[in-house]
Amino acid sequence: MDYSVQTTDNGIRVTLTGRMTLVDHDKFRAVVDAIEKMQGTACEFNLAALEFVDSSGLGMFLIARDVAMPKNVEIQLKGAQESVRRILQIAKFHTLFTVLD
């Protein structure tokens, strides 16, 4: 997995690309650090180029949520490809995150 972080009008946009699995924990730790330090109210994950996410990757999104909630930051999961969207549905992530097309 690769990632980039950009500042937006109301927070940050995190773009994830490639495969997000067990081995990406250290990289995602840097994403969590960016959420901890961010200003604003929204953290948008751009998932359009994310090809694969496994159960460990789902757990990483939940870590991001744990960090965002006390800051009143909304986490948005946006633009997921069909295969990634399917796993988000199976995990019932729409009950925890704002999932956008």
């Binding site: 699995t21 067990l22 496994d54 159960s55 949520r65 960090v67 295969s83 399917r86 925890l96």
Partner: protein
């Protein structure tokens, strides 16, 4: 039991010393793959190989792959050499972790026409979850995933890294078999861990649980999941 045919089968190596390859070939009665034929060898002995090299070998049609760190295991694959409906990989835990086997296997399944392209993402995710469970909870012996405590994620991955550095745990073998029956493919993952009790409930405790989704994902996306050997074997079925 029918005698094992040898001689007509060929072996090749990736990242393997020639002496080791020659020794295994002689012990098993196999020819060493050369440039005289375009057909793939029947058995690949892998040492320090890359994912791209292994992918290319599987796509080329090699059906049986054995880890060079444990060449004695090659004895056990003689009966399955030359079977066109089977893919068998027997690799150390460390090599299986580094190579990330699910996408490699699924590319081979798709190339052989055993899965359709539109099923590949869900097959790949199920195989990936089964292999990850076999590595982490089976061969590395880490019983539980991260808990609700956010810091437990860091501790969990530190534990994975530490156990992968332990030669005993990292050297345990993970077997991955795929068998095509003409209508569906059955993927079997075997580990050498302590096993687990699989109950009917595979759902995590809540959508916010940090771990425990693997079995649920496999049950949702495959056409059948079953366990054997006290949880050290998982079988996944996928209709084409």
């Amino acid at each position: 039991m029918a005698p094992v045919p040898t001689g007509r089968f060929r072996i090749a190596g990736h990242g393997v010393p020639q002496g080791l390859l020659a020794g295994v070939a002689q012990k098993l009665g196999l020819g060493i793959d050369g440039a005289e034929t375009d057909s793939p060898p029947d058995l690949l002995l892998v040492g320090d190989t890359s994912a791209d090299e292994l992918r290319a070998a599987l796509v080329r049609g090699i059906g049986v792959v054995v880890d060079a760190d444990d060449p004695a295991r090659a004895d056990g694959v003689l009966p399955v050499l030359g079977r066109p409906n089977l893919i068998h990989l027997s690799l150390s835990t460390l090599r299986a972790f580094r190579l990330e086997l699910a996408p490699l296997l699924c590319e081979a399944l798709q190339c052989r026409g055993w899965i359709a392209g539109d099923r590949r993402p869900e097959v790949e995710l199920c195989v990936h979850e089964a292999v990850s469970n076999a590595i982490v909870h089976g061969n590395l012996g880490i019983q539980h995933g991260p808990s609700e405590d956010p810091a437990s994620f860091d501790r969990f991955y530190a534990e994975v890294r530490m156990r992968l550095a332990d030669p005993v745990r990292a050297g345990r073998i993970l077997r991955l078999d795929a068998v095509w029956d003409g209508a569906a493919v059955e993927v079997q993952v075997d580990d050498e861990g302590a096993g687990f009790q699989s109950g009917p409930q595979a759902l995590p405790s809540s959508p916010a649980a940090k771990s425990g989704r693997g079995l649920h994902i496999m049950r949702e996306l495959s056409d059948g999941v079953s366990f054997d050997r006290g949880g050290r074997t998982v079988r996944l079925r996928f209709r084409r």
